[in-house]
């Protein structure tokens, strides 16, 4: 399991790579908290597209992260969830409380960039 983050136009994107089970969950929570402390005034996007495995430990990781970010008055969103991980979120019912998006929302600036690039 590896965690990384980078700044995008729309906010901070935190990315998990590899397998996320109970053993790795503590490391994820720690990384999330550290990164949110670094960027307390930015929207947070949690990118799960690099996960090759996830069990129910991922539920509490996502819920905990959302609680912290919303508590700080920022927006929180999960992106790129692989289908198998999505089945776990669906079984748990947290999809009614957390926003899951296929990918980062395109900001207007980016659309402009795309046009210029063309």
């Amino acid at each position: 399991m590896k965690c990384s983050h980078k700044r995008e136009r729309c906010g901070i994107v935190i990315r998990f790579h590899g397998e996320l089970g109970h053993h790795e969950a503590a490391q994820c929570v720690e990384y999330l908290e550290k990164t949110m402390t670094l960027y307390p005034t930015e929207p947070i996007f949690l990118d799960l597209s690099g996960l090759t495995f996830m069990d129910s430990s991922g539920i509490a990781v996502v819920l905990g992260a959302q609680r912290n970010v919303l508590g700080a008055g920022q927006s929180f969103c999960v992106i790129g969830t692989p289908p198998t991980a999505m089945r776990i979120f669906q079984a748990s019912g947290i999809c009614r409380r957390v926003t899951f998006l296929p990918a980062l929302p395109q900001t207007e600036g980016e659309e402009d960039d795309l046009c210029t690039a063309k």
């Binding site: 109970h22 053993h23 495995f53 996830m54 069990d55 079984a91 748990s92």
Partner: protein, 147 residues
């Protein structure tokens, strides 16, 4: 027909660093049934939930042995048994309810629910102070007439 064609068992200490070992070992064994990637993932997930429960709940304050055994049958069924000699479960019906947990904030109470929905059948037997045994079965569909 339903006769056993292969079997294995693994035994390891209840350290969370062994969770990945356990699910990968079962996946490597189940590969003989030529499952799809999704079926393998279902099995890994169910094993991960059951093994985590032994580590987090059965041996909460201690370290003990966990045994995972698996059998393959000629109709494509895999039967997996996860066993601990930990604290046991007082009320199994309650424990199997979605969202019921006696664990900390890191636990969602969804372990048994996910085992049930990712496998075909789940049976839980437990005695307080003696231990818990979780039996899960899944039928892997034959593909391209490989069986």
């Amino acid at each position: 027909m339903h006769s056993e064609i292969n079997q294995m068992s693994i035994k390891f200490l209840s350290r969370s660093s062994n969770e990945a070992f356990a699910r990968q070992a079962v996946a490597a064994f189940a590969a003989q049934l030529d499952p799809t990637i999704e079926e393998i993932n279902d099995i890994k997930t169910a094993v991960s939930e059951a093994v985590t429960n032994c580590i987090v709940h059965a041996y909460r304050e201690t370290t003990g042995y966990i045994t995972v055994s698996a059998k393959l049958f000629d109709d494509g069924e895999i039967r997996i048994v996860v066993r601990d000699k930990g604290c046991g479960i007082a009320d199994i019906q309650q424990a199997r309810q979605p969202m019921f947990t006696t664990g900390d904030a890191g636990r969602s109470g969804m372990g048994f629910t996910i085992m049930e929905s990712f496998m075909d059948r789940l049976r839980v037997r437990s005695r307080e102070g003696i231990g818990t045994q979780v039996t899960m079965t899944k039928r892997i569909a034959a593909r391209f007439g490989t069986r």
